[in-house]
């Protein structure tokens, strides 16, 4: 006779499949002495809303894989993950006399590891990652465990102990482990009373009323070593550079260095997209590749504001090439130059509460996210008959190119937009343009009292980019002088579009939008315009549109955070 307990163990130790011969027999049992843990990332919704899905998965996968390793080492049973929540149990399938202290150590290790991981990941996943932490909740008692048969049958826990553990997590605090009185009692029996501190305020738990709980802190002597690795080396390098540039070692934090590393990687990714196109679709060699531009005397960025900017016609080879950008190996000296340039940019930001380098990174991240969500033809995913018909495939891609004004198939434009995000508030003084003009009348004069801060930021960024030390980097990124000029045109118009308080510029943007997207109004700039549909990605351009990016359409990504979810919970 096979007992329920044996069935559960058999399911867990096997391939995780339900025996169809025993369909009527439930696979479930009651386990009397267990501790259940829930862990949830505080602020995950807000954090993830500003990132690409792939980055969200990098975070969750990294965290969960690390937790799994700890669980394996501590003999903790991982039950499942649900979104950003991790659930584990001790005391089953085999009884564990010290189920409470095993789980307490596990939760403590996970909390500690989470702190390390988020710091390490900040240079990959961007600002605010280092500030992420988890809430942990533990409760001990009996648990029903088993397998609900049906499609995708899986092992699950049921019962009041599970619900209470979930409440311990949800009513807890970020970076802390909250345990119920039953877990506290079990820990005392396991001689671990020293790990407990009563929570001063009682908590109201749905269905349970008011509960007294405890904060857990495992007392242990072992110390975790340094994380090491290349990320750490990059971070140290960025830290050293920043200290030299700012000439004030005390004001530079590791967090700042991590954000610089992250910004550098974002830029490198976009540069690779430009470079792969050069490699696959080279232009005729030019004898004199002098890629440099300096503004003429008396001219300012404002003189370069355009109603519309031309973009290249669709080229299927370029679109195909850009998909393989990860194959580009950037030479070490160029990579170092990019890092140096980003570090200089970071150092040019003032330590304002808001308009600082971290803000620039937030904007850059929003730009990258928006760009990633612009509809694009996934050429590599086109299947069936379409995949065989190159002509149809290219036609689809060309239509999307036109519909999105070439944004998805123009790597130079995407590089320019990301670059603009990074440099748009350089040297911001933490005051409005009106106040800036009062405090620095000579600066206001130079920029004709229009978009003073924005033009100043542009000039500083450009001056450094044109310096001799970045000559080789420029030649690597821009194949021709024309490319450099188009890049400048894009960043000048994009950064000036971030001045949302200039009434004249605002009106220009509104008028331009009307002309671009409302066919009933006369269009003096480009013709004919798009015809819009809301039903399909690929069936909305009966009229071929002109190639032009409507500049400064009022799409200031500074306000992107206002149109992403506000929720602060996990």
């Amino acid at each position: 006779m096979v007992t329920n307990n044996q069935k559960v163990k058999s399911f867990l130790s096997g391939p995780g499949e339900v025996d169809t011969n025993q369909n009527d027999q439930p696979i479930a049992d009651l386990f009397l002495h267990c501790t259940v843990m829930f862990a949830d990332i505080a602020g995950f919704t807000a954090w993830s809303s500003a990132r690409e899905p792939a980055h969200v998965f990098v975070l969750l996968q990294t965290v969960y894989q690390n937790f799994d390793l700890i669980a394996h080492r501590r003999r903790v049973f991982k039950v499942e993950t649900i979104g950003d929540a991790y659930m584990a149990v001790t005391g089953l399938p085999e009884p564990q006399a010290k189920h409470a202290s095993i789980m307490a150590r596990f939760a403590w290790d996970c909390l500690d590891r989470m702190g390390q991981l988020t710091k390490e990941l900040e240079s990959v996943l961007g600002p605010d990652t280092g500030a992420l932490s988890m809430r942990f909740g533990l409760h001990s008692g009996d648990v029903i465990a088993g397998v609900l048969k049906g499609d995708r049958a899986r092992f699950q826990l049921f019962g009041d102990t599970v619900n209470t553990a979930a409440r311990m997590e949800s009513t807890g605090l970020a970076g802390r482990i909250q345990v119920s009185s039953s877990t506290a009692e079990a820990l005392r029996k396991e001689h671990k009373a020293a790990w407990l501190t009563p929570r001063h305020d009682d908590i109201a738990v749905k269905g349970k009323g008011v509960m007294s709980t405890y904060w857990l802190a495992v007392k242990k002597t072992e110390q975790n070593g340094s994380t090491g690795g290349s990320d750490q080396a990059d971070e140290n390098e960025a830290l050293d550079r920043l200290r030299v540039l700012k000439n004030d070692a005390s004001s530079i934090s590791r967090k700042e260095a991590r954000v610089v590393s992250w910004a550098c990687e974002i830029l490198v990714r976009q540069i690779k997209k430009v470079v792969i196109v050069h490699q696959r679709c080279p232009l005729p060699a030019q004898a004199n590749r002098d890629v440099i531009f300096r503004c003429q005397e008396g001219k300012i960025c404002l003189d370069e504001v355009e109603e519309a900017i031309s973009t290249p016609d669709f080229n299927p080879e370029v679109a195909d090439a850009a998909l393989d950008f990860d194959q580009v190996q950037i030479p070490k000296d160029i990579y170092n130059a990019i890092q140096e340039y980003v570090t200089i940019i970071a150092a040019m930001y003032r330590p304002n509460k808001f308009h600082n380098f971290e803000h620039a990174c937030h904007v850059t991240m929003s730009v990258a996210k928006l760009l990633s969500r612009v509809v694009s033809p996934e050429l590599s995913n086109v299947q069936g008959e379409l995949a065989c018909d190159r002509q149809i495939r290219d036609q689809m891609a060309a239509q999307v190119h036109d519909f999105t004004h070439g944004l998805t198939s123009d790597p130079l434009a995407t590089l320019a937009l990301v670059f603009a995000g990074l440099v748009h508030d350089i040297d911001h003084q933490g005051v409005s343009n009106t106040q800036l003009a009062k405090e620095y009348p000579e600066l206001a004069d130079r920029y004709r009292n229009k978009s003073v801060a924005e033009q100043n930021s542009l000039d500083i960024a450009w001056e450094h980019l044109m310096s001799d030390r970045f000559k080789k980097m420029r030649e690597y990124i821009f194949e021709t002088q024309e490319e450099l000029l188009r890049f400048r045109q894009l960043i000048v118009n994009t950064v000036l579009a971030t001045d949302i308080f200039d009434k004249e510029l605002n009106q220009l943007r509104k008028d331009r939008w009307q002309r671009a997207f409302h066919a009933d109004l006369p269009d003096s700039v480009t013709e004919p315009r798009l015809s819009w549909s809301t039903s399909s990605k690929l069936r909305m351009w009966p009229i071929r549109c002109s190639t032009g990016i409507s500049t400064g359409s009022g799409m200031c990504v500074c306000s992107m955070r206002c149109i992403l979810p506000l929720r602060k919970g996990g």
Partner: protein, 80 residues
């Protein structure tokens, strides 16, 4: 919050003529109504994000409503 801090600092230093705490609640509402929501509406209209083009407008309206409800209390919290 950070922008409020920056502007409040500027006010205390005499570099901003008005006390931001006096206009912050209404100012944010105006920013939603006159800038963010029209911008999100444009994103929806232009359809450049395909099937998820209306997502940003929905978030903007939701965030605006949340600010309308909780904004005054948040401004008070920011002052302390």
């Amino acid at each position: 919050m950070r922008l409020f801090d920056e502007m409040y600092t500027a006010f205390k230093e005499g570099r901003l003529s008005s006390d931001p705490s006096k206009f912050w609640y209404q100012g944010e509402l105006d920013f939603f109504d006159n800038y963010v929501i029209p911008l999100a509406t444009k994103l929806k209209e232009c359809n450049v994000f395909g099937v998820s083009s209306d997502e940003y407008l929905a978030y903007a309206i939701k965030n605006r409503d949340e600010w309308a409800e909780r904004g005054e209390a948040i401004v008070q919290e920011m002052l302390y």
